[in-house]
């Protein structure tokens, strides 16, 4: 039988009679109608009668509470009669703790100037935090060099493996593809002049000077930087970082320095590996699609490979390694204490890594041009 509620009234008293089966799966059909009728008022007392009630669950209690709140608002007294066992105690329980009047800051209501000011203060605080992090990371590195840092050798080796050997498959695939794309796009233009043999030089110079380092950097930012932020962020959530600090172990020595070292050591190697994969990708296009002979392609590549380009690439790679490790670890350490904060920290680690890698590339390019490399 469906849930029912009838309102009948005389001059000063109203009776709300509940009937049928009440459940969250089969609610009252004319809920709004009954409420409107009830809210129109005109009575001083109301009786809630459950004489014809069948089955019931919290759908009944929720509706009853809605009516009782309306009574409280209007100063109407109410009584419950013929209600099944359990209804009155639940109503009582629900009304035991009065609603706490709590106000949350309405941020949308703030004037523009306030919002600007708050953004400025937040940016300043973030800069101070980042500066403090850099200082502590530097000191921790200095302690490591002096042999005073508390870190486990096995952690360092594990991080080196994770940032190095474990990254080889993805670096191979992406850098081979990038080499292939550079060669393919270059060949379309070079073919117009019958100069497709220069595809080898184009790929060798582009990949070794900066493309290899950038591709390895982007891959490592998405793979390792994000992993650093997620790992350290989760440790923040589980209070593992607090546990380290309270035991007098610097989280910088224990967590940051091994990762910083691992990535800064592995990135130059990954950059050289990425260069090699990019050149192989270019060779695939040159030999298979453009019909160049392998010997010819190898000769042109070797001619274009100059040590200064390779060194520029390695310097880029090393700087990117430091940036990715710092961004990942920083975002992990400043992560909030809940699951969504870990997600935000991971995203921020990747975004900041890529942004700072771009800035570093611009600065390094300027410096190398200045010194004529």
């Amino acid at each position: 039988m469906k849930a029912k509620a009838y309102l009948s009234r005389n001059e000063s008293e109203a009776i709300v009679a509940f009937g049928g089966d009440w459940s969250v799966e089969c609610p009252l059909d004319d809920r709004d109608g009954v409420l409107t009728d009830f809210e129109s008022g005109g009575f001083q007392t109301v009786v809630f009668s459950g004489k014809s009630l069948g089955k019931w669950d919290s759908a009944l209690i929720a509706f009853l509470l809605r009516l009782i709140q309306e009574c409280a608002k209007r100063g109407i007294s109410y009584t419950l009669t013929d209600m099944p066992d359990g209804v009155e105690p639940l109503v009582k329980l629900a009304l035991t703790v009065p609603p706490r009047v709590v106000r949350k800051d309405a941020e949308h209501a703030k004037p523009m100037l306030d919002l600007l000011g708050e953004a400025g203060i937040a940016a300043w605080n973030a800069s101070c935090k980042a500066g403090c992090f850099m200082r502590k990371a530097y000191r921790s590195f200095a302690r490591f060099v002096a042999g005073k840092a508390v870190l486990r050798k096995s952690d360092l080796l594990w991080e080196i493996q994770e940032a190095g050997v474990s990254a080889l498959p993805i670096v191979s695939l992406i850098c081979f593809m990038v080499g292939l794309i550079v060669a393919f796009v270059g060949s379309i233009q070079l073919k117009l002049f019958g100069a497709q043999i220069y595809v080898a030089s184009l790929v060798a110079i582009a990949v070794t000077r900066v493309m290899g380092a950038i591709m390895a950097g982007v891959i490592m930012a998405g793979r390792t930087g994000a992993s650093y932020a997620a790992t350290i962020g989760s440790m923040q959530v589980n209070e593992e970082v607090d546990a380290l600090e309270t035991m007098g172990i610097s989280p910088f020595d224990f967590l940051i320095t091994p990762r910083l070292l691992a990535l800064s050591l592995m990135m130059p190697i990954l950059t050289v590996y990425a260069d090699l994969m990019g050149i192989l990708g270019g060779a695939f296009v040159g030999i298979v699609m453009l019909g160049l002979s392998p010997e010819e392609y190898a000769r042109m590549t070797l001619n274009a490979l100059v040590s200064k380009n390779i060194i520029v690439g390695i310097v880029h790679g090393t700087v990117f390694g430091v940036i990715i490790a710092l961004c990942g670890c920083y975002q992990g350490l400043v992560c909030g204490r809940n699951a969504s904060a870990v997600g935000r920290a991971t995203t921020s680690a990747v975004v900041y890594s890529i942004v700072w890698m771009t800035v570093a590339t611009a600065v390094l390019t300027f410096i190398f041009n200045l010194i004529g490399v």
């Binding site: 329980l93 706490r100 809940n338």
Partner: protein, 251 residues
């Protein structure tokens, strides 16, 4: 005589080759406050995972309100149907941190009922009122205390008026008064909503005061070594290990 709600027969659970419990059989009757107890590592939480459909046993049958839940004739559809009748309160509350308390409680209602937003709002307000969190609808889990998170978790567990509620160490991390209040709240809700309770707990005052039936899982033999009302087990312990556990190792 009360009807059985959960019937567990010859249950063996393992993680790979590591057997956690073997040949465990028991029955949870409708209206019971059923306590699962035992020393750390005996598989209490694993058993809860089996009873809530999260972990498949190696062997054995579980009947959930007459429906094959694990074992012969069981299926994903059966487990889904059965879990519609269940609510779970996890140790940490396990509230979704990106949602307000009201949204946390409203989600199961939105998912499984055809209620209008106004009706859902009324029900959410009722559930939060019942657990003493009136006025905290718009708060996020990160903005409330641990005890409040537990109560909000309970409100969410009760959202769909479950016939059975599973509790994983509800009192863990609470002060004695909050713990007692939570026990009282659980009992009041059980009495008035006719709910069956299955609870994993270490808290002696809690399990002795609220438990109507219990099992004791032994970490060494990986079997069930005692069954009965916790207060009765304390009076007449069937096993020294149970006595040791229920008296906190005191002679």
């Amino acid at each position: 005589m009360t009807a059985p709600f959960l019937t567990v027969s010859d249950l063996t659970v393992a993680y790979g080759d590591n057997v956690i419990m073997k040949d465990v059989s028991f029955t949870v009757n409708r209206g019971d406050v059923f306590i699962i107890m035992g020393a750390s590592g005996c598989g209490k939480s694993t058993l809860l995972s089996v009873l809530t459909g999260l972990k498949e046993p190696v062997k054995g049958d579980v009947l959930f309100d007459g429906l094959p839940f694990w074992g012969e004739n069981s299926s994903d559809a059966n487990r889904k149907t059965a879990m519609r009748k269940a609510g779970i309160l996890y140790q940490s509350g396990a509230l979704w941190t990106s949602m307000t308390l009201a949204e946390n409680v409203a989600l199961p209602l939105t998912q499984y009922t055809a209620l209008t937003p106004a009706e859902i709002q009324d029900l959410v307000a009722l559930k939060l009122d019942l657990v003493g969190l009136a006025g905290f609808q718009d708060f996020y889990p990160s903005e409330i205390s641990g005890g409040m998170k537990k109560r909000a978790g309970l409100a969410r567990a009760l959202a769909l008026d479950p016939q059975i509620v599973f509790f994983d160490e509800p009192s863990a991390g609470l002060d004695p008064i909050s713990s007692k209040n939570l026990d009282d709240l659980i009992l009041q809700i059980k009495e008035n909503l006719n709910t069956t309770i299955v609870m994993v707990t270490h808290e002696l005052p809690s399990l002795l005061s609220v438990g109507t039936n219990s099992i004791y899982l032994d970490v060494d033999t990986k079997t069930l070594i005692a069954q009965g009302k916790p207060a009765d087990l304390l009076k007449n312990p069937p096993n020294p290990k149970v006595q040791h556990f229920l008296t906190r190792g005191e002679k």
